[in-house]
Subunit: 198 residues, 4 copies
DNA sequence: GATGAATGAGCCTTCATTCAT
DNA sequence: GATGAATGAAGGCTCATTCAT
């Protein structure tokens, strides 16, 4: 009704958002196993057929959810990185670790569903993208700042290692029922890892 | 028809093994999405009904595959750990990292399917078990050996960090198309990480 | 294929009717044991999936068939009852017995399937409904007309007895290969029974 | 073990009984829908294969249960009939009605399962047998005793009617949640029916 | 574009029955 | 005869996707 009045472009954008939001809700509320296209359509208050006007298939809808989710994560982390680029390495590392944890803690249910219920292949590319983005920034902004001593290491190798380890640790920390360290301790360890490896 | 002529399928234990092996093969050959009970039965040269004499449902078959796979991994790693317990920490760390990588490299296709196609929740418990086993051994055998200086750290915290980081890194290394470091470099880094964090 | 070319199946009400009719046909043609959802779908020239858009499960389809069948029976009997309410009791009883028999004779094959192949529990409620409807009308319309002498009996008791006996006798008469009385004799007996017990 | 020592004939008789008893128990405990050959074998503490040494198929096992059940019913009723043959018709009718009701009340759960859960066709023959037996006795023993006035009626017709009506009414009385007459009232009515129709 | 009824391939599972031991 | 593991046909049902309106 009201939608009919909107400019075309707007409408389709809105539909995509509506569908993605509905899919995210279903994921969080019912889990991945129970996510059906009909349920998503219901939640989006849209007909099942309309889904296929904006997405080629069910998988692509879920992928868009994870893509947006992981992009947001990347955005937050990169933003923090950029914001603290002028500070000393430790401060920057700390800020970044904090930013990552906060980002992961924002929607732990979705994080759990994405990380544990979805086949990893479904969000692998997103994660690779996130890792690459962070790595690129890391290398670009910090690369020049390496102490001659640290220079012995290959930045590609270091960033691969750090980013992967930090990501895994942070995610598992948020998801673990009862992790054997506090959040602050984890941040300390993450910072230490970053500094040691760079 | 043809089956009628064959000796009756072997009993229980052998049957379970046959089914699990078939499921593994299907997983590797066709992927998780295409694993159906009928396909597993076909591959096991067994009737679909027989599956249900040994497993309550499809999920439990897949679970057994992952359980056995991850158990084997754990076995290898723990064995190496125990074998090198009397050596100096670095040698032990190196041997363990090697053992883990070798274990993961033994069946990379299955590793990929389990890690990327299966919903993580399907093998989460297995992984937690693996991690716990390794952590326990680590703490038991190395705990007493800490230098007073290293004593500053909580072993639970250290082992959680190390095990998780090493696991993630090793798996990703094996699965990555084109990792930015050689296998030897990774081992070096893993050893360094272990020594640094302990 | 062929279906693709046909006009889209008619909607809701018509679809329900189509399915119920198909189920009835299958019941009559193949018997209850051979009624499968796929067979019903075939006969209805509808896809198996469509069945489940209108019925929650197979049982409910069969239930609808019996419900409609028994409702029709009830309708006929009640209609006759109402039509002859102003006549003397014997005429009314006779008309009703006739109506019941005619109704049962209309689809003897379905009657046999419903009465003999279906578990009685599957149409028990329908039958109870039929009996209640007839009893209610009986008591409402005839109740006031009882001769003082007849008043000695409890109408609830009388109607229970009569309705049950008449129903059983009539059904068995229609279903019996070779009943030891003619239809007219049965009607006479049913009438006598009704008059005697009221 | 102990069974091995028994004479052959005994053994097979005992097995049949064991199986039939188990089937009856399953029927009562789990209902007809959940009666499977495996469950019967379990309950009989016998292997599934053994069932087929004594019965051609599942249906025949259930049939034996109903046959025995209905035969017992017939036995009781016929016995009562014979026992009271020398008394006046009303006393005999009353005794018979009582005997029937008592017989039905002995195992109401099995009655319900047989009457409501089993497809009627599965016990139709048994019922026909019961009815025939009772009718035969009725006609044989009471036939000669008819008053000349009653003689106007065809005994085959009368007995068909009476037996059927009495059977239906008695069964429904036992099965009804809340029948609108007492047991004594029903007996009175059944007796009246018998006397009136004979 | 939007709709939503219809589709139908295909899945998991059951269970009466068999037959080698 | 007894066993019971194995069988396998078949069934009910789901759900991603389509397409006539």
């Amino acid at each position: 009704m009201a939608l009919r009045k909107l400019p075309r472009q707007q409408r389709s954008r809105e539909m995509v958002d509506r569908i993605v939001a509905a899919a995210r809700d279903v994921l969080v509320a019912d889990g991945y196993d129970r996510l059906t296209t009909n349920r998503v359509a219901d939640r989006a208050e849209v007909s099942p057929g309309s889904l296929y006007q904006y997405f080629p298939d069910k998988a692509s809808i879920v992928e868009e959810v994870t893509a947006r989710y992981v992009d947001r994560l990347a955005e937050d982390v990169v933003a923090s990185l950029v914001d603290h680029v002028h500070e000393d390495p430790e401060a920057m590392a700390r800020a970044t670790a904090e930013a990552l944890l906060s980002a992961l803690e924002r929607d732990p249910t979705l994080l759990r569903v994405v990380w544990e219920e979805l086949p990893a292949a479904r969000h692998l590319d997103d994660r690779l993208g996130l890792e690459r983005r962070v790595r690129d920034v890391l290398r670009a902004y910090l690369g020049g700042r390496q102490s001659p001593a640290a220079r012995r290491r290959d930045p590609a190798r270091s960033s691969w290692l750090i980013v992967l380890a930090v990501e895994s640790l942070a995610v598992r920390f948020v998801l673990d029922e009862d992790p054997p360290l506090t959040r602050d301790e984890l941040v300390d360890d993450l910072v230490a890892l970053g500094l040691a490896w760079w």
